[in-house]
Every structure is written in C-alpha cells, then in structure tokens.
C-alpha cells in the first residue's frame, strides 16, 4: 500500500473521532443533527476509500447505504420529528461539557492503549482503524449516557454504529453479509425508534427520558 493511501484512510478515520467529539458538546438538537450528518458523510467517504484501496467493490454498496440512509434520510426524518414535537430548543445535559470532553479523551486514550497493544500482528492500517473505531464506539456510548433527550440518545446510538461500520470495513475482506446486515439493522432500528418516539409523544407529551423514568417501577 502506498504512503498516500494510508494517510488518507488515516485522515478519514481520525476525522470521524474528531466529529464524535463535536457531537459531545452540541447543546442544540438541530446542530447535533447536522454534526451527525457530517459524521455519516465522513464515514461514507472512509468506507468508499477503503473500497478503493482494498479493491473491494462490494464496499461501495456499504458506502452508498451509509450515505443515503445515515447522512440524508435519517437526519431529514429526525429533523421533521423534532419540528413535529416542537423540541428544537435545547438539550439538557446530565454532565457538563468539560467533564464530558475529559471523559471522551480518557476513552480515546483507553481504546488506543487496548487496541494498539493487542493487534501487533495485523497490518498498520487495520490496527489504527480498529483503534479509531473503538474510540468512536466508546464516544457514542458516552453520548448516550450523558444525554437525557430520547432523540439525542438515538443519535448517540447511531454514531456508535458508525464506529462499528468503520471497524467492519477496516477488517480486510470481511464478508458482505455483515456490512449489509449492519446497514439494514440500522434501518430497522430507525423504524423502531420512529414508532417509539411517536408513541412516547402520544403518552407523555415529551421525549425527555427523565420524565419517563418516573414510571420506572423500581419500587415494585
């Protein structure tokens, strides 16, 4: 593999981690949605680049699915949901921006330490892709736990899945079955979530998960 191939792949995967950080501190839903669309866009570019350098045409399909569903369809649909529900003002945070960023840095350091240490044998590109992918996964998880709003939790979950797609495409020659299923399952997950959001609206007039927690039933 030539030097420039490696550098571009590296740049794209690194940008994904960076955008995950951007997602962490967005305090407005629209802004968060736009950043997520950028996240998906970079992922699509990264997958397409992998398809090119690995000479694996089936990965272009994954890239196309990512581009249409995650970068266009889902953000547009979520945008509409936000408008319909009238919840576009602000995101309440459980943890402050500073703490969330520090925790995020800690998680990235953790995934570098873990993944780089265990993947001595693998080729350098796959190694670093995997380390970046784990960072994106962990940052997605962090976002899910620091947000209360159901919409932003869902966005956190989708960026977590972006990390998984990055890992799957970085693993050279991984069968197509899985990539399609990943994309497909995101679609299903999205439908499920969509239904849920509307049901939540019907029942509670809010998508603030804190309010649902009242019905948690811990004392029963």
């Amino acid at each position: 593999m030539s030097r420039i191939d490696f550098d571009i792949a590296h740049l794209l995967a690194g940008s994904l981690v960076l955008i995950s950080f951007l997602e962490l501190y967005q305090d407005r839903l629209y802004a968060l949605l736009n950043v997520f669309a950028a996240h998906a866009l970079v992922l699509a570019a990264s997958v397409a680049w992998q398809a090119f350098i690995q000479d694996a045409p089936h990965l272009y399909v994954t890239a196309a699915i990512t581009l249409t569903f995650k970068a266009i369809v889902i953000p547009v649909a979520l945008h509409r949901i936000i408008v319909r529900l009238g919840i576009h003002r602000e995101i309440e945070k459980v943890v402050g921006v500073g703490a969330a960023m520090l925790a995020g840095m800690g998680l990235v350091a953790l995934s570098m330490v873990v993944m780089l240490r265990v993947t001595h044998g693998a080729d350098p590109l796959a190694r670093e892709d995997l380390a970046f992918a784990l960072s994106v996964v962990l940052l997605g998880l962090l976002m899910m736990v620091t947000r209360r709003n159901a919409v932003s939790q869902v966005i956190g979950f989708m960026s977590l899945e972006n990390g998984l797609v990055l890992a799957a495409t970085g693993a050279k020659g991984m069968p197509l079955v899985v990539e399609i299923s990943v994309a497909f399952s995101i679609l299903i997950a999205f439908i499920v979530i969509g239904i849920f959001l509307f049901r939540i609206r019907e029942r509670f007039d809010t998508v603030d998960v804190q309010v649902i927690d009242r019905f948690r039933g811990e004392r029963r």
Binding site: T119, A122, A189, E202, G217, R219
Partner: protein, 479 residues
C-alpha cells in the same frame, strides 16, 4: 434447494409469520400459530434422526441440537398457553384485534430468529439473528402501550442495542484474529472452520474479543450488572412473552457465549473464560437473590428469579469440566421448563385478579386451587427442593464445586438459600391465608403448565439413560 428438516425449522416460522400478518380473525390465527409451532417442533425433533451435513451458513451438532429441541418445545407450549391468554386480553379490551394480529406475526418472527441464531454456522449470521430476536421482543414488550410498557420497551431497546453493538465489535475482532490464519472471506466466520484453527489465532486479540462478546451477549443473558432491562421487560410485556424471554431468549444468548468459550478453549495461550463467567454468575446469583425480597409485582419477582438462575447456569459453565457442564445443561433445561410453567400460572393468576401486585392477591389455593397448586409446585421446583429436576442439577453443581473450589461453593450455596427463603416468603402470602382479590372463574389452559411440571418431576425421578448419555456427550464437547 431440497426441503429438509433444517430448512423447515426456519421456513415454517417465516411463512407462518407472513400468513399471520395477512390473516384477520383471532380464532383462526391463534390456532394457526399453534399449528406452526407444532410443525416446527416436529422438524426439530426429526433432526435427531437425520442430521444434514454442516453447510456454509447452517450447522447442526449435538450442542445446538439440544437447544433447538428445547426452544421449539417451549415455543410450542407457549403458543398453546397464549391461545387462552390472548383470548382473555381481547375480551377485556387490553389488546385490540390489529395488535393481536401483530402479536402473532411477531411471535413467529421471534421463533424464526431464535432458531436461526441457534443453527447459524456463521458468527455474523448468528449476530444478525440475535439482533432480530431483540427487535421483535422490544416490539412485543411495548405492545400494551401503557406508560410502564413503553418505558420498559425503551429501556430494553437501548440496553439491548448497546449490548448487541458490543457483541458485533467482538465478532469483528474474532474475524480479525481469524483472517491471518484462515484467509479472507466467509470461511473466517464459520464456526466449523474457526474451531479447527483457533489454536493458531493471536491470543491477545481473542482475549479482547471475548471481553466484548461477554459484555454484549451477557447483557442479553441478563447477567448482573447488565441486567437492568430484564425485570421491566418481563413485567410489562404480555405473559407469554415473559415465558419465552425467560425460558428461551436468555438461553439463546448464553448459547452464543458458550460457542465463543469453546473457541477460546482451543487456544492454549488465550485467557481462560471460566473465571470471568464464574464471577459474573455468582454476582448475578447473590444480587438477584437479595433483590427478590422487596418485589411487589409478581412478574418482576420471577424475572429476578430468572437472573438468579442464569447466574447459576453461567457459573456452572464457567467452572467447566464434565460434571459442572452436565449440571449446567440440566439446570438450563429444567429452568426453562419450570420458569415458563410458572409464568403460565402467573399469567392466568394476574388475569383473574386483574393485577400483578402481590399485595392484592392471596389465598389462591382456596379461590383457584388448580392455579394455586400449580404455582406452588412451580416455586418448589424453581427453589430447587427435592424431588424436582432443579434439585438434581443444583446438587450436582454444589457437590462438584465443593470438591474443586470450596470457597466458591459457599457463595453458591449462600446465594441459593437466600433466594429460596425470599421465594417462599412471597409464595406464602400469594397462595395461602385470607383470600384477597377477585375469585372469578379462571378460563385457563392448564395443559402446558402441568405438562412442563410433569416433565420436571419425571426428569428428577427417572432420567432415561439415552438422555443422560446425550447430556454427557454435550458436556464433554463444552470442555
């Protein structure tokens, strides 16, 4: 493609799901549901006699054969139970006909997903199947659309998806470990190929992969501290789904873990998965046993009891060795049968009493003797008192652990005893004393629960030598 029993196990639920989604009318569809599960059970049983060769995608061996028969059997009895349960829900108006249609279709999709997860020969395919099973159960848990049901479904959905996502990461890592040895492509995700080559995999990568898989699929098994979704999902969904969740879906996730454990066992340099499973198992057991004391909702009570038993089973498989594995398999089978029987009884009890609150039900043996005694028998069985099936498996487990690791055995016995005491405390107020709540006649289907309890009793009194040999063989496979 020729039609064989293996495709039948997948095709029948898939076709039935499409049919049930299309057909209106509760009476026809509920019976069609039972017919489909019966046919699936017959197909699964026939796998004992003629077993197809492992293919690229599907595989039947001794290990998953056991799981498939258990799954299709409990799937069948639950569909019989759900016939009368759903009928009652329709009468009382808790469910409307469109929801019932949806429920039946989803039931078959769930059966399809669980069967696919069990017979998949590809770690990616298995992951997809478990994800599908999760999504269908999420939809079913939220089917009543009450505050609590939606909250439970949302919680289950979020925790379940995170678990599933971690499991996928683990799956990708396994592929990464296999690729340098096996080469690119499908073969590096096939169980049969993976197991033969696992000795040459990079051990460090396998270790990290297993940690992700344990956390991911462990969430689906309901091991503490990853269990938070389980009590809510059991308590708020329809009771047949509680029975299927406890009796089957937890087992399917456990099966995935066992497969990966077998993979690590082949590689001498990789970490031993046993101690991790033992720790999580004991933690779940002791935690759930204490949680049993303050439950006020009857389904939530038995959901915690499921966490307790999954802990015991994970502990047994974690200990490993022929006796502990045998005990684990037996315990898993007995727990599935007993716990689903209990949920059948609890479902009818909650329907006649019109509530799930333990405080609002009492003196069941007077008002509804058949239901009351079935519940007592079930709780006696699940508590592990002789002469029922769970006693045997717990006895085997405790004695074999005392010989190998006495300290662990003490924790095990302590957890079991704490749990037993809590269950009897609750059972006392439900089954005996002053009758409380409605004493209207129950339109119950007793056959499924008594069939399960009879099997549990029979297994304790006389286990056919063929069955013992079968379990011993599988226990040997698990290493």
């Amino acid at each position: 493609m020729t039609f064989d029993a293996l495709t039948g196990v997948l095709l029948i639920p898939a076709v039935a799901a499409a049919l049930l989604a299309a057909l209106p009318g509760y009476r026809v569809t509920a019976r069609l549901n039972v017919a489909a599960t019966t046919l699936t059970l017959i197909c699964a049983l026939s796998l004992f006699f003629s077993r197809p060769e492992p293919g690229v995608y599907l595989l039947v061996d001794d290990l998953n054969g056991t799981f498939i028969v258990l799954t299709t059997f409990v799937g069948f009895t639950t569909s019989v139970f759900s016939l009368s349960y759903i009928g009652h829900e329709l009468e009382t108006g808790r469910l409307t006909p469109p929801f019932v249609r949806f429920y039946h279709a989803m039931y078959q999709v769930l059966m399809f997903a669980m069967n696919l997860a069990l017979i998949a020969n590809n770690i990616g395919l298995m992951w997809v199947a478990i994800e599908l099973a999760t999504l269908t159960t999420v939809l079913m848990v939220g089917i009543y659309r009450t505050h609590e049901a939606l909250e439970a479904a949302w919680k289950y959905f979020i925790l379940g998806s995170v678990g599933i996502a971690l499991a996928l990461f683990g799956t990708i890592l396994i592929y990464m470990a296999a690729r340098p040895v096996i080469g690119e492509g499908l073969a590096a995700m096939e169980w049969t190929v993976l197991v033969t080559h696992a000795g040459a995999f990079d051990p460090a990568l396998l270790d990290v992969a297993f940690v992700f898989l344990l956390l991911g699929y462990g969430t689906k098994v309901g091991l503490a501290p990853l269990h938070a979704w389980l009590p809510d999902a059991h308590a708020e969904g329809p009771t047949p789904i509680s029975a299927v969740l406890s009796g089957l879906l937890l087992n399917v996730a456990l099966y995935a873990l066992l497969r990966f454990k077998m993979l690590l066992a082949v590689n001498a340099a990789a970490l031993a998965p046993g101690p991790l499973m033992v720790t999580l198992g004991l933690l779940s057991l002791v935690f759930a046993a204490f949680m049993l004391y303050r439950r006020r909702d009857i389904k939530r009570l038995f959901a915690y009891s499921s966490i307790e038993h999954m802990g015991i089973i994970a502990f047994a498989f974690g200990m490993g060795g022929p006796i502990a594995n045998f005990a684990g398999l037996l315990h898993m089978t007995m727990h599935s049968l007993t716990k689903s029987a209990i949920f059948f009884a609890v479902g009818h009890i909650a329907q006649v009493k019109g509530t799930q609150r333990i405080a609002d039900m009492g003196g069941l043996t007077e008002t509804h003797p058949a239901l009351g005694w079935a519940l007592i028998l079930g709780v006696v069985a699940i508590a592990g008192l002789p002469p029922l099936g769970i006693f045997m498996s717990e006895f085997l487990m405790v004695t074999s652990t005392f010989a190998r690791a006495p300290l662990l055995a003490l924790v095990l016995v302590f957890g079991i005893l704490v749990g037993v005491a809590a269950l009897f405390l609750r059972l006392n107020s439900i089954a005996f004393g002053e009758p409380r709540g409605s004493s209207a006649n129950a339109q119950a289907s007793y056959a499924p629960m008594f069939a399960h309890l009879a099997l549990v009793l029979a297994a304790a009194i006389y286990m056919p030598p063929a069955l013992v040999a079968w379990f011993q063989n599988v226990a040997g496979l698990l290493g």
